[in-house]
Subunit: 353 residues, 2 copies
């Protein structure tokens, strides 16, 4: 109810300068004597002046707003990206307006129009993962467009993705650190870039240590595939040749764990397991059972936003790496580091869903 807010012109009047000068003081442009500048700032503070962002926008042509177009905001991975992007943006005093296409092409088009109508300064498109593709909207905007967690179908566009190869390398390093060397990889379709990249990172890092990957099974990102893969390994005895498994994601990892434990194989004593996604962390569980690689989606979002912000400034916009990757982080759990191996832990993790 602090209804009528203070106008810049009132500040100017009170500070005994012109509106123009006051305006220049407020956004540090133009030439203003230090004394005057201070006087105006002081007056503004005294009157509790709040710039009217809207008027500013229409006058300057910039809305100080970045549009966020989520391909599907309900998706599991969207939130951290959104939060990261939002944090970055609010640091530089940019607002973000969210539009959720919810996988609906028609809705997405509408949203693009809305973003245009609102004259957002830039756009961050949030996809659903390394292997998701977004229809490019770059040509529909005059400002910068950055794709987070998705590849645009236009190779010119800037995409920010988690570093899948690095994730694989992290797993390899961790296994080596905890003394494992006979590693298997149980993952999803080999047609997926993320799958291939993770495997590449894993093998390269192993090779650097003079080791090599013992076994690879391609399937899908599901718990059932984890079950099946583990059963196969147990049945054909190949589990004997292995002391660690890098799982394509946490779902697979949980399936593996459950089946292995059921077959009397101890985790991590007999087989250590690392997953990807840090699902436990996502739902706020510290001290997880499963060691997992957090792909740092928040950083992906923040990076995308930062890139958009950087491109906002017309200066020096030439260096254009079109794919930017963000390194992940290994979150240790008892599935590799051991410690109290309570059966409880496993039950917990697998029961959650």
């Amino acid at each position: 109810m602090s209804n009528r807010s203070v106008r810049l012109v009132e500040v100017a009047r009170a500070a005994d300068v012109s509106l123009a000068t006051a305006s220049q003081v407020m956004n540090g442009s133009g030439r203003v004597a230090e004394a005057t500048r201070q006087r105006v700032l002081e007056t503004a503070r005294r009157l509790d002046y709040r710039p009217n962002a809207l008027a500013r926008s229409v006058a300057s042509g910039r809305s100080s707003t970045v549009g966020i177009l989520a391909e599907n905001a309900s998706g599991m991975f969207c939130m951290p990206v959104l939060v990261g992007a939002n944090r970055s943006l609010s640091r530089v005093d940019l607002a973000s307006t969210l539009y959720d296409a919810a996988h609906d092409v028609k809705l997405r088009r509408e949203h693009v129009r809305r973003l245009q109508a609102r004259h957002v300064d830039g756009v961050v498109v949030i996809g659903e993962g390394t292997d998701s593709r977004s229809a490019s909207v770059s040509h529909e905007f005059s400002g910068p467009v950055v794709y987070a967690l998705s590849r645009s179908d236009d190779p010119q566009d800037i995409c920010v993705l988690p570093d899948d190869a690095h994730a694989g390398a992290l797993a390899a390093q961790h296994f080596l650190e905890v003394g494992r060397s006979r590693i298997a990889h149980v993952t999803a379709e080999s047609s997926l870039t993320s799958v291939r990249d993770r495997e590449r990172g894993l093998t390269e890092e192993l090779e650097r240590a003079g080791q090599r990957l013992v076994d690879v099974s391609y399937g899908s990102f599901t718990r059932d595939w984890g079950f099946a893969a583990a059963r196969r390994m147990v049945e054909d005895g190949s589990i004997r040749d292995i002391d660690a498994i890098f799982a394509g994601n946490d779902q697979i990892a949980i399936g593996l764990e459950a089946q292995l434990l059921a077959s009397g194989i101890r985790i991590p004593e007999d087989v250590a397991i690392v997953g990807v996604d840090n699902a436990a962390g996502m739902i706020g569980n510290t001290d997880p059972f499963l060691t997992s690689i957090d792909l740092r989606f928040d950083v992906v979002g923040a990076t995308a936003a930062d890139l958009a912000v950087a491109r906002l400034d017309p200066a020096a916009d030439d260096d254009k790496p079109t794919i930017v990757t963000v390194p992940g982080m290994l979150v240790p759990g008892r599935s590799t580091v051991g410690g109290t191996t309570s059966p409880r832990s496993l039950v917990l993790e697998s029961l959650i869903s």
Copy 2:
């Protein structure tokens, strides 16, 4: 790069009317002959005119934007609320700008200022649950402020919350439907409103069927509490008097399940379990093990937004129920309905014993 967009004045010129008339056609105000109106609309379409939302805002004083202030966007429950609110808002062509206070009081204050500066038409504050309280910001805005998933500390404010009592009733109904009648309640601190409300709903519904609650244990919303409670029930034999447990949330439910299974009690044959939160659904798992009550946070968000929108219209804003509750929905899983004893359950059982 469809750089320069069409101005309303160009539409006006092309349709051979004045700017004023065109403007009036565009937002249905003023008196315009039907023929003229059609001509203008047709011209606008032909030229692909997109109104400049910013200019409109500054001229009309309304920004067509609702601010969303999240107490902590990273919280598990925020996303669905946000998505729901956003969906509602975009239906009436309102943009939403998100500000995440991340539990930081100072940051929150800054965000409030930003929201003021941007002259948002209304605000939706997103809290962290029925028992979370939000500092009222209603007096800092001239427009409507609605609190979702949180109670404002000013009793005048409008708060939208999940219907905890209804959740309890749903659980009771479900238990009765699947033939259970000796129900226990394992939940968190009895000082919490949500806890008391859920219990009230549960007992009232049971009483309606001539049954009564057999046992209640208060603890906390953690797995460990679920364990402890189950152990106690097993040890003192009270588990014998029970054929179903309503758990305060999914974490407790998981703890219960794990411990009960470990004690050789079959789920759901011996004891059925219902949780609250639908955590499985949240991470995208259909066909969950645990039957759980989805509190419909998305609807909470949508309702909050709708209320804010309704209050936007100066007309008829008098009816003010300050607490609005949203009914939840039971999502059946195998912990009550049984069915295929999936490998997972088997694993769990064999693993424990």
